[in-house]
Amino acid sequence: MIRLEKRPQPSRAWTVATPLLAVALTMVAGGLMFALLGKDPVVAIRTIFWDPLFHEQFASYSRPQLLVKAGPLILIAIGLSLGFRAGIWNIGAEGQYIMGALAGAGVALALYPLDAWFLFPLMVVAGALGGWAWAMIPAILKTRFRTNEILVSLLLVYVAEQVLASMALGLMKNPEGGGFPGSRNLQHYPAAANTELIAGTGMHWGVAAAFIAVIAVYVLLTRHILGFQIRLAGQSPRAARFAGVNPNALVVICLGLSGALAGLAGLFEVAGPGGRINIGFNQGYGFTAIIVAFLGRLHPVGILLAGLLMALTYIGGELAQFMLGIPSAAIQAFQGMLLFFLLGVDVLSNYHIRLGRRRAA
């Protein structure tokens, strides 16, 4: 018989070890799934986790992709983790990401072909504001009318997608694009382009921003009163009120910060790797970032590692689709397993597992 006994304090060792265990379990279960699909599991796992970084032929292309994909994931997840710690559930980062991209690109397209040093910084500000404003909708509805921020933020993703489509087909359509949907390519507009900072690494301003966010949030959570209040509100709401935390202010701050960071991620994407506003420009980064946040245990360093890992499974997954013909649904199931096992083994850090009916005699 297996029994669970609550630990007086969460175990440090297990908190670190459970993500690793979850990755291992995912490899086993995923390998089994690939085997059932008639693929060699060892080759499939190697293609996903190893080849993107070290394959002699593909690595030169896929290695920079690691940072390109991880950058937005980390940037968004870091913002989300603040709210998640406080018990404020922003599920709509995808929408804030779109609105940030639209606002930032909108500035560039409106001023085209202005060639000024301040254009890119202006876009960055606009991107953050776009995401922030979109997140303020659930924040204000929650603080004023006690609506559920999960629902509102999620539904606003679909609204944002509609806005994106209409922009791509209308206002922001490239006048020189021969009638095709989609805006001008900002990559070809030097003053607005988010270029690679170090050639061949995939490092762009968005990745730099993600690293800065990781450090800033780490300091915030461990050294700053706001971070303390966020943790307190999540663990013990009544004690937080006794400590003087204003719950409404916290909702506005957490949703606002996560929205702004998601908006930034969108801006860096549209001005960089994405290049243009178009239908389907958002690729689910906002949703995947939720997984990344939890995979990283809402801890900044954990999120950094989780973002890199998740990016790896994306790139590796594409590679596996391309090389081994594994269906994309199977890749998604594989990524889902990762979250499933993570939450499953989470029990270990809060509980002792006792085997057998009796130990002490």
């Binding site: 013990s236 004690a239 006794f242 009916r357």
Partner: protein, 506 residues
């Protein structure tokens, strides 16, 4: 008498403490057995092991001659062991019968269950209506729900961990009559309490724990309360003494304070007025649930009220939140220590930061000074004799009384001008309670205006200069505590509450 339960060499260690160190004792059938000990002596840990909630590291238990190894509370219940916890686990929005059904493995149909509840409640003199909502019940009535839930399982051993700390004297009388009847029928009762007079009237035998070990076993009727306390602590007790200085000018003035309750089962405050002078202790008595929590919220700033309803030296502070009130030295310690006064999963250092950041200068321009917070937590631990391996331990790992000492000490050491405490010695052992009362007296002697909200009339009479009673959200005009007779206090309390006389079928 044959032993019902025998415990031998039971040992349980937690990181940094041995909560139980080779504990051995036995309980006979039909015996009311007291478990005594200071805060953190290991009483709760011991009964949790008997109830299968905590697994011992070593040791052996025998129930009715057979080895007894409860792997879980439900195994313990099957073996005939039941337990009433100090903190009730009931749902406010469900009825009495529904709550009881939730705790049963195989609940009978509602109609049958309601009939059983009536039957048991009549047999044992525990008045209770099965279809009432739990949210509207007093603490004593809630406890009856828990007891009846236990009695429906027909237990051989009933464990009660500090059952009377939230009851009125009348409710205690009812409870004792019930327990005596149960014992007469052969049920053994294991009883934990810090109220020594109660133990002397109720219990046949007492086992005394000190720092995890059994130090003595005696018949409590043959000892005085002071003797029992000394056996627990191992040293002589000193009663709190007061300096008896003259109070200064009015510091805090509350006038026409009304506050609708935030929760549907709470009590609204109605037109409360009083004032407290520097160096004075105002005692506010009354049965829990008559607006105590709401009054504390209004004074701590958690609930904002009209600015003029609360004034500090004439300055309106009613609209200020908890932070700004701390800045002007109005401090508070709420009753519920886990989850209100302290965050259970945070360390004592973090819990020190929780209320002391402003006054102790633990933050500069928003950045936290953790070493200073740790030093302050250590100061509280040392000054109030909090038993814990260190400030890095989570609040929930402390025993109830030790956390209470920490919570009170944290506010007392912040040099308040006004200190409001609710149930300051709730679940605290006799010597620690004396220490806490002494610290409140000392604080008043140094010029602080102190408001003590408590259900314990003896405590209030011991330390207050003036006394007022809170009843259904109204406060009686305060009167000098000295010379107040029991009848006068009864009249002030309104007398409306639970004066029904226990009726036990003999």
């Amino acid at each position: 008498m044959t032993a019902l339960l025998t415990v031998e060499g039971l040992t349980k260690a937690y990181p940094g403490v041995i909560a139980n160190d080779h504990v051995g004792f036995d309980i006979a059938q039909g015996e009311v057995h007291a478990l005594l000990g200071e805060n953190g002596a290991g009483k709760s840990t011991l009964v949790k092991m008997i109830y299968g909630l905590v697994q011992p590291d070593a040791g052996r238990m025998t129930l009715r001659g057979k080895p007894y190894v409860p792997a879980s509370p439900s195994a313990a219940r099957k073996a005939g062991v039941a337990m009433v916890f100090q903190h009730f686990s009931l749902f406010d929005a469900l009825s009495v019968a529904e709550n009881i059904a939730l705790g049963m493995e195989t609940p009978p149909p509602m109609r049958r269950l309601a009939a059983r509840i009536r039957e048991v409640s009549e047999t044992y003199g525990l008045p209770l209506t099965p279809d009432r909502l739990v949210g509207g019940l007093s603490a004593g009535e809630r406890q009856r729900v828990e007891i009846i839930r236990c009695l429906l399982q027909d237990p051989r051993l009933l464990i009660m961990d500090e059952p009377t700390s939230v009851l009125t004297p009348q409710e205690v009388a009812i409870l004792f009559a019930t327990l005596r009847k149960l014992a007469a029928e052969g049920t053994a009762i294991l009883y934990i309490s810090h109220k020594l007079e109660e133990i002397r009237t109720l219990c046949d035998r007492a086992t005394i724990l000190r720092r995890g070990r059994v130090v003595e076993s005696c018949n409590p009727r043959e000892k005085s309360a002071a003797q029992l306390a000394e056996m627990m602590v191992g040293t002589k007790l000193t009663a709190p003494s007061r300096a008896g200085g003259n109070p200064g000018g009015v510091v805090l003035e509350v006038s026409g304070l009304s506050l609708p309750s935030a929760n549907p089962f709470g009590t609204s405050l109605r037109d409360i007025s009083f004032s407290v002078r520097a160096g004075e202790i105002l005692g506010i008595g009354g049965v829990a649930g008559n607006g105590q929590d709401e009054l504390l919220d209004a004074l701590s700033g958690e609930a904002a009220v009209t600015p003029g309803a609360v004034r500090l030296r004439g300055r309106p502070i009613g609209a200020l939140g908890p932070g700004p009130r701390r800045r002007v030295a109005v401090l508070a310690a709420p009753e519920e220590r886990l989850g209100h006064a302290a965050a259970p999963d945070m360390s004592l250092t973090e819990n020190a930061m929780l209320t002391a950041a402003i006054r102790e200068g633990l933050a500069a321009r928003g950045f936290l000074k953790w070493p200073a917070a740790k030093a302050f937590a250590e100061k509280v631990i040392a000054a109030f004799d909090v038993r814990t391996p260190g400030p890095g331990n989570a609040a929930r790992s402390l025993s109830g009384g030790n956390l209470q000492k920490f919570v009170i000490g944290r506010e007392v050491l912040q040099r308040p001008e006004v200190l409001v405490v609710n149930q300051p010695t709730w679940g605290v052992d006799a010597s620690a309670a004396a220490a806490i009362r002494q610290s409140l007296l000392d604080l008043a002697a140094s010029g602080t205006a102190v408001i003590v909200i408590s259900q314990d009339l003896d405590e209030l009479m011991e330390i207050s200069d003036r006394f007022a009673a809170l009843n259904e959200g109204r406060l009686s005009p305060p009167r000098p505590a000295q010379g107040l007779t029991l009848e006068e206090i009864g009249l002030m309390l309104g007398g409306a509450h639970d004066m029904e006389v226990a009726h036990v079928a003999e």
